[in-house]
Amino acid sequence: MVFLILSGFVSAEEIGKKDSLESGRKFNIAIYPVENLSATPAPLMEIKQAFVERLKKQGFHVLNEEDLEKFMAKHRIRYIGGIDRGIAKAFKEEIGIDGVLITSLELYSGMNPPKIALISRLVSTGASPFILWIDNVGLAGDDSPGILGLGLIEDPKALVEKAMKSMAGSLISYLSTRTDERIDRDLKSKFQPKIAYKSPALGPDGKYVVAVLPFLNRSERKYAGEILVLHFIRQLKRFNHFDIIDPGILRQELLGLRVIMEDGVSLANADAIFAILDADIIVSGRVMDYQDHQGIWGKPKVDFSTVLIERKSRQVVWGSNSYNEGDDGVFFFDRGRVNTAHAMASQMVQWIGEKILRDPKRVEGAKGSRGQVK
């Protein structure tokens, strides 16, 4: 009897899975060309093709290249780092696309050990586009050398393959189950912000619509400001408390408002952004260092400051400085060493999300101060 009931449950579960898989397969996807933020030559076509092949293999409907090119030419789409409202609507109404996959390549190095880092997101189409899924991967050939170096990956193609397997797997899993992976519990404390201020106005129970503005780039790395924006979107999306406005929509509105931010966002600019996007929080900041190294020697370095401005109070509700190097806290045999700036930035930004939502009112700062928000 018990066996019969249990088997009934299993089959119900399987049917549910099958249904969601079927509905996922009905989801029409357009895959944008890969945005190259690595500022180096990279196999962009191969990365895109890897997504196309894996999705098609699983039975998903992917818009073919010819139709995509025609659509992009018709709407004069040159920016491939996001989609604005008009384009999203056209995708839905004209060619019946449900989601657009946007991939940004952060790092590619073919030199031994090879390195790759990318962030992909699936944005819905229609009148009000939003981010359905986002994931990232950052790998270096010497991340897990293992005994006698047996775990080393020396072939860049093999590393790209490994990265694409992870990303496509995550996307397929989302499309099949429509559930997103959440908090990474394996956060290393060394990546916490070194100085942080949190206003009591930022509560753990709040739900915020967040606009992440491009960070001012004072580093030598090209596109470091845009890269950090993607990290913030990726990491804040892990928490249920943040609805992130897609950078494509934000870009369109900023261009429309003719906002120029020479030294950060002013309150007048913030008011305009809050009003037009109906956002609750603006995230902005400054990148001082975003370094990756090529080859064996060297270490990655990330240094940035973050500011959150809240709509109601028109005040800074969070301010922090984060900096880390790849060998922080590494003493023996490179154990715990991080080989890409991407991997460090991911954890550093996730810590900011953790501190904003989970930390009580306590703040860290000047040692002589009370260290407590009034």
């Binding site: 070194k194 100085i195 942080a196 201020y197 004072r218 931010m261 020479e262 030294d263 950060g264 966002v265 002013s266 309150l267 007048a268 600019n269 913030a270 902005s284 400054r286 001082m288 240094d303 400051s305 500011v307 401005i309 005040q315 800074v316 301010g319 922090s320 400085n321 900096y323 703040v363 860290e364 700062g365 000047a366 040692k367 002589g368 101060s369 009370r370 260290g371 407590q372 928000v373 009034k374």
Partner: protein
């Protein structure tokens, strides 16, 4: 007996003279000025201007300013305006040199951005110093607070952190990382402000 007395008197006189000379060599104590008539409790919001940069590295002043702003905010004692708002105020007040403001400019700027005080600063040294074969990081920073009602300087302080210590000379090591000594310098200045 008389010779002993004369000797003792000479010794005392020479000790006294040596002390007077030593005191004459001494500089006035501390590197901090605080206006005793100023009510610092009335300062609720401050603006931190771009720091003047006397070093070779062009982004140093922004780096130190960011650390200072967040450290000051984290004390919970005062609110610091976002840097973008300061930039807007500087443009509206038509300030010629935001790193060195005149009294009139401070009053005008204060009225626009609605702050009770403005903090300006100078980064005098930032980076690596060498002595023989030894090297270490150093930062030297001065700040001043100007009241926006009168345009008067109400607080100034300076600090130097890092540099080559005796241990560095003996054992090497290269001193502490730049970010760590920057935090130390900023904390030192904030402690002087809240003293």
């Amino acid at each position: 007996m008389g010779i002993i007395r004369i000797g003792s008197l000479l010794l005392r006189t020479s000790i006294f003279l040596a002390l007077v000379l030593l005191m004459a060599c001494a500089t006035p104590s501390g590197d901090t000025y605080i206006d005793q008539n100023m009510d610092f409790g009335a300062i609720k919001t401050v603006g931190v201007m771009s720091f003047a940069n006397l070093t070779r590295d062009t982004v140093v002043s922004e780096r130190v300013r960011d650390v200072f702003i967040n450290s000051l905010l984290s004390t919970g004692a005062v609110y610091v305006l976002p840097t973008g708002e300061i930039a807007r105020g500087v443009a509206r007040a038509e300030v010629q040199n935001p790193t060195a403001l005149s009294g009139e400019e401070v009053v005008k700027l204060g009225g626009i951005i609605k702050v009770q005080a403005i903090i300006t600063g100078v980064v005098r040294e930032y980076g690596e110093v060498r002595s023989g074969t030894t090297s270490a990081n150093i930062i030297s920073l001065s700040l001043q607070m100007i009241e926006t009602q009168t345009g008067k300087i109400v607080w100034t302080a300076s600090t130097t952190k890092g540099g080559i210590s005796i241990l560095d000379r003996l054992f090497g090591g290269g001193g502490q990382p730049m970010n760590v000594i920057t935090e130390k310098a900023v904390n030192d200045l904030i402690n002087k402000l809240f003293k």
